[in-house]
């Protein structure tokens, strides 16, 4: 056996082990991610209630129905609003907090970090139930306090009003997920070379200038990744909405995941409409992909900056 052959064989053995060790992950990916996607595409072509094998072929009828359903587009608009709040409010707010909490001289900063991160690890359904109780206009703590201090003279119907329900959910969702964004930004801040900051400080640069001309450019590549991750996460908002309002009142907080859930699983349906729900899921997935691709210029910018 030549030396070259031995090296090739050694590499193959090494690679084989990599594939062997990755196999469980690949199986899980195939079973829980790839197969459901493929199955959704297939089921979306049938009028199927989830029992037995789908037999009633309807072609693209489910897709036509989804695309022409005002309720779907309303739900999609709400989903998109969650993303806008995440990008336009949560992202910069978390950056501001991260800069503050990254200051080594700030006393108790770890405690503040913990306080901001705790909501992330709490169960969303429990958070939802607790907030429903807190916000209730009848004996809810929030309204009791507002009334007691005289800020309002009548209870605020946070979750029962079509004008306040969605903003309320968005606020809670922002609070719930804020810790993740904060951690992302804190991690990003660690990539900024301290010597650059120190050099700038020695040259008399002010804090705002340091943020603008050093921190932001250095973190830009990671910032774009953070934005994409946040965007993706916010598009999938489901559990909080389902736990608190289930899309109500009168669908004013309906998001695409709750819309899909209703057609697939809601007991108010005489029979589940799995085929239609799958079609809605596929359409939503495609729309998400399109929205993500619209951010391609940002990705290209990231590459240029990284270089």
């Amino acid at each position: 056996m030549t030396a070259r052959t031995r090296r090739t064989a050694a590499k193959r053995r090494e690679h084989l082990w990599c594939y062997v060790l990755l196999l469980p992950l690949l199986v899980a990916f195939g079973g829980f991610t790839l197969w459901p996607i493929v199955a959704s595409w297939w089921y979306s072509l049938f009028d199927w209630d989830g029992v037995g094998n789908p037999t009633e072929w309807v072609g693209l009828a489910n897709f036509v129905e989804v695309l022409t359903a005002p309720d779907f587009w309303r739900a999609f608009w709400h989903t998109f609003l969650f993303s806008l709040v995440a990008i336009l409010i949560e992202l910069p707010l978390a950056l501001a907090f991260a800069i503050l909490l990254n200051n080594a001289r700030l006393r108790g900063r770890n405690l503040y970090r913990l306080a901001l991160f705790v909501p992330v690890v709490t169960t969303t359904a429990v958070v939802g139930i607790v907030f429903v109780a807190l916000l209730d206009p009848v004996r809810g703590a929030v309204n009791e306090i507002l009334l007691a201090v005289g800020l309002v003279d009548a209870p605020i119907n946070f979750l029962g009003s079509t004008t306040t329900a969605l903003p309320t959910l968005m606020g809670i969702d922002l609070w719930k997920g804020f810790g993740i964004s904060l951690i992302y930004w804190l991690a990003a801040l660690q990539t900024v070379p301290k010597d650059l900051i120190e050099a700038a400080q020695l040259d008399g640069a002010r804090r705002a200038s340091i943020v603008r001309h050093i921190m932001v450019p250095v973190m830009a590549p990671i910032a774009i990744v953070i934005m994409l991750l946040l965007f993706q996460r916010s598009l999938g908002t489901f559990d909080l909405v389902q736990a608190m309002t289930a899309g109500g009142p009168v669908y004013s907080t309906d998001v695409v995941p709750t819309y899909i859930y209703r057609y697939a699983f809601s007991p108010e349906m005489q029979a589940p409409r799995y085929g239609f729900a799958c079609a809605a899921g596929v359409v939503f997935g495609l729309l998400t992909l399109v929205l993500t691709l619209l951010q391609a210029p940002a990705l290209r910018y990231r590459k240029r900056v990284a270089v």
């Binding site: 009848v138 003279d153 979750l159 029962g160 009168v250 349906m269």
Partner: protein, 487 residues
Amino acid sequence: MSHVRHAQMSRRSVLTAGLGAAAGLGLAACGSSEDPSGGGSSSGGGATVELTLALIPDPPGASEFYRAQMDAFEAANPGIRINIIENPGDQQLSAVELMFQQGNAPDIYRAQAAGFDRMYSRGWARSLEEFVTDDFRSRFPEGSLEPASSGLHRNGELYSIPLVWGKWSAMDLFVYNRSLLAASGFDAAPTTWGELEEIARAVTADGGGQVFGMAPEQASGIVRMSRQGVPYSIPGDGINLMTGEPDTANPTMIEAVELMRRMNAEGSLITGWESWDSSRSYTEFAAGSFAMYTAQSWHIAEIRNLNPDIEMGIVAVPVPDSGRASYTPITQQFDPLWSMSSETEHPEEAWLVLDFLASADFYRAYYEEFGTLTAMQSVWEDEIQANPDLSEVFGVAESTMQVVPNPKLASEGGATILNARAERPELRFTDSALESMIKNEDFAPKAAALDEQLRTFLDEIFATGDASVEDISFPDWDPLQPYDAAN
């Protein structure tokens, strides 16, 4: 060289260990899948037969009740063991369907209302006709088990066993807090929609933001109110059975929604009702947060349990100012509830359980435990006089409910239409009515739009030839008179 050899041995050991672990997991999984406690039925050691009973543990305390009852059954039938599987009410049907699909169907399961028809249509319910005896029939009122009207039969055969009195699930009750009304100067419950509005306004004005006139009970409350003024099928399905035509835009139907809309706009409906779950109405009523609402029958016992001293009155739902134009419908003698699986391997033993669930002892125990008027009237009819609440409930039911045409039972075409309509919840007035109330928008145009959609829906069904307008038309029916299907 020594280092390389060591690495190879380590990797081989890891692989061997991994394969061994995988094999172990596989064997464990095989063992787990054979465990009968996960559902399904099987013969245990000796002659013991294990049956699975899938049920909904409601009302509160039902879990313990059913276990105790099944323990009593097992004691009386030593060769049978009952495994109870509990599912939340809104998940029972899906859970049972999943069990059937996975091949571990329960032997007996609870499936009620449309859920029963769903299971029957899938062929998952077994006919009970062969087990019925004269003794069984004698437990129920004469004629109540006639196939055409019982509600428990399909294609002339018995398929389900009832739990509650036929009127129990369908009755419309109006409960009010005597103390709150008296505090606002009213010594009696409202009998008309106008009086309702007046009393609610007064109670709210006197409540100082803490007590309100009424809770609407979501869309269900509108259904109960409106069907005192229009044929029951209009709020139910959007179709007027007198004509076979869509009629959501019926003037009295619109009037009912507009009443609720006005009351909401002026603050007479309790703040926050829009986001309530199903239990909030009776818990808040018991707490004295509002004065009146249209209640479900099982709420009565819950209210009394929560507030034993509440001065609660139970009366008929108020009618339109122009007078009663319809009655709360009796569409069938009983609501189906308990079914036997078509896949059970022990039908005789399963029938023993069903027969027990339809026994005088069980019905009496359920009545005594939960205050529910059970399907066997004889076990409670002499006792309710001692219970003021149930006396009032019984009185309201007897005076406000009448037999009505039921297209589902009358013809296959009728069943086709109404089952298809039920699969299209967006065609019902519910969402539009709630939207009108919450956003303070006119209901009439929404109702008209719904009727147009219903028109299209019906035309599509008629075009298939599976049904016709005759299947949903009963021109001789007078909503103020009991309907006689025989004529």
